[in-house]
């Protein structure tokens, strides 16, 4: 019996109450006001105030008007998530199995991008991918790119930016699950005449699946809502749903439409995550 239990049942609730009230008031309640704002009369305005008219049609109208941006968000986020997995896996694998005493140094290097501002390092990509930058120049010199071609202000730049920004979110959970693998399992596979590739496919990779699921979720969710990369590295033709939500709230101030888009973004992400986690068979993660 712990001391606190003997002292009565009030203590845990006193500890929990302030923090949970904060989350309830400023996280849960806003989700309710977001939904109710989306159902306000679309003819109202911020200045005159909105009336509640249960106007569900806003959802259909908003989806129709911004379908390209909506689809693009999930397309870009999905592509970036797969790329981050492909790029992050060898890195996580090397840190977990081959780094030896350099492990901690490499882990610090993986999180190093977080040490500087998200916006400043995204802006750095405008320098790297600039038309007169060395990446474009090199690609053009070896003939992989048109002399007039460019990277900046294209979907490639936006996806590269998103992949870069969320790559540590993929790499760290992958590392965590690879690190936990008992080396003897891999050795056993090899003692049973598995080739290196077979041992990886049948033993190492399946054992790292919890990391794959966690890493891809941690990348996909913020990527789908991101609008910084699309705004800084792209053009209006690469804008994602986040760009629309931002401008509808802050410049156009069409609150019902903006709220409806925000609700649909959240609902789609939740639906996709539930399906994905079911498919991957790792419900215990949630």
């Amino acid at each position: 019996m712990s001391v606190a239990a003997r002292r009565g049942a009030a203590t845990p609730y006193l500890l929990l109450l302030p923090g949970l009230m904060w989350l309830g008031l400023f996280f849960a309640v806003p989700l309710v006001t977001l939904v109710s704002t989306s159902l306000y009369d679309p003819n109202g305005s911020l200045r005159e105030g909105y009336r509640m008219t249960w106007h569900f049609a806003t959802y259909g109208d908003a989806l129709q008007a911004y379908w390209p941006q909506f689809r693009r968000s999930f397309g870009y986020a999905g592509t970036a998530t797969v790329l981050a997995l492909v790029i992050g896996y060898p890195l996580a694998y090397t840190i977990a199995f081959k780094a030896g005493r350099w492990k901690n140094v490499l882990l610090v290097l993986v999180v190093a991008p977080f040490f500087t501002s998200f916006l400043v390092r995204t802006l750095a990509w405008t320098t790297i991918l600039a038309d007169d930058g060395f990446v474009v120049q090199t690609l053009q010199a070896i003939g992989l790119m048109d002399p007039t071609g460019r990277l900046l202000a294209t979907p490639v730049a936006v996806i590269a930016g998103i992949t870069y920004n969320f790559l540590p979110f993929t790499t760290l959970p992958l590392y965590a699950s690879l690190e936990k693998i008992d080396h003897r399992m891999i050795e056993a596979a090899q003692d049973l005449y598995c080739s290196g590739a077979q041992a990886f496919r049948r033993v190492t990779f399946p054992l790292s699946l919890p990391g794959v699921v966690a890493g891809t979720l941690l990348t996909f969710i913020p990527a789908a809502g991101d609008f910084i990369n699309a705004a800084l590295l792209g053009t209006p033709s690469t804008y994602m749903i986040g760009n629309v939500i931002e401008s509808q709230f802050l410049q156009v101030t069409d609150y019902p439409t903006a709220s409806a888009l925000s609700v649909m973004l959240m609902a789609t992400i939740v639906a996709l995550v539930v399906v994905y986690v079911r498919k991957a068979g790792t419900e215990d993660l949630l």
């Binding site: 001391v3 190093a112 991008p113 790559l167 790499t171």
Partner: protein
């Protein structure tokens, strides 16, 4: 060393079932070697991708831009560092970011640590829904969190500014604090607290002399994480700051008119401070480990 162990076994595993034992051909050995190193080569490529922008940020902080846009390296200068506040409004935005980050860190660390203690050290009903309420903010895209909070403030007719910004920052850093402190607390040996009580310490002194000092590294880590998240937040802030401008919002605004090179100075400074904090933290942990 375990790494060389697995490496050696990796080559041995290359033999096919038709040739289960005996020395292996030089070709398969060479391919195994290349295969092993392909992973390392790919990893170096990934690291370059991660670190290249940081190098660019540092380099650009010493650049004297040719025109309005600081995009290509023109001429080395120290003037961005010596005239840091010459970029109009930038230093004010850094000060606001620091104020919000300090206050949000204190708020979130106090509220979040209390939740973590309750969750790890107490049994009570409703745990799973509480865990859900803590998990959800971390799984919600920032644009949804920021915009929904905006609809709340607008419907409550609250004036957007410093206080709404602070409320938002405590909200989205809180869950990260809970998770970090919880991880530390659940790794602690409950026997230590048991022992303190056996030695007639009351609940209060058990907490302050045993539990709290043991949890402190976790609380410090949580506070550092909260500070970093708050200082660098753009999306949620952008929705709830009203006319206030924090540093990321300053960069966002400046990106349309041409970013002053001083922005890269702040970016570099952030990097150096964070690196020192992390390296210092690891060093301190190593020292503690050695003294034990």
């Amino acid at each position: 060393m375990s790494t060389t162990d697995t490496a050696a076994r990796g080559t041995r595993g290359d033999g096919t079932s038709s040739r289960p034992s005996g020395p292996r051909s030089p070709l398969s050995a060479a391919m195994g070697f290349a295969g092993r190193h392909a992973v390392v080569v790919a990893a170096i490529g990934s690291l370059t991708y991660l670190l290249l922008p940081i190098a660019v940020v540092i380099l650009q902080s010493f650049n004297k831009p040719a025109g309005r846009y600081n995009t290509s390296f023109n001429e080395f200068t120290l003037s961005n560092w010596t005239n840091m506040c010459a970029a109009g409004g930038m230093c004010d935005s850094v000060v606001l970011s620091l104020q919000i980050a300090v206050l949000a860190t204190i708020g979130a660390t106090v509220l979040g640590s209390a939740i973590a203690f309750a969750l790890v050290r107490h049994r009570f009903r409703g745990r799973s829904s509480i865990n859900m309420l803590i998990f959800l903010p971390m799984a919600t895209p920032e644009v949804v969190m920021g915009s929904s909070l905006l609809t709340l403030f607008v419907s409550m007719q609250m004036r957007l500014g410093f206080w709404t910004l602070l409320i938002a920052h405590i909200m989205f850093t809180l869950s990260f604090v809970v998770v970090t402190v919880k991880a530390r607390l659940s790794g602690l040996d409950p026997n230590l607290e048991e022992a303190a009580r056996d030695l007639y310490a009351n609940a209060w002194s058990t907490f302050w002399r045993v539990t709290f000092p043991l949890a402190l590294p976790g609380i410090m880590a949580a506070a550092m994480l909260a500070f970093a998240l708050s200082f660098d937040d753009f999306i949620v802030s952008n929705f709830n700051a009203g006319n206030e401008v924090n540093f990321p919002m300053f960069v966002w605004g400046a990106s349309r008119r041409g970013v002053p090179p001083q922005v890269n100075v702040i970016g570099t400074l952030m990097f150096v401070v964070a690196l020192l904090a992390v390296v210092g933290g690891q060093w301190a942990a190593a020292q503690r480990h050695r003294n034990r």
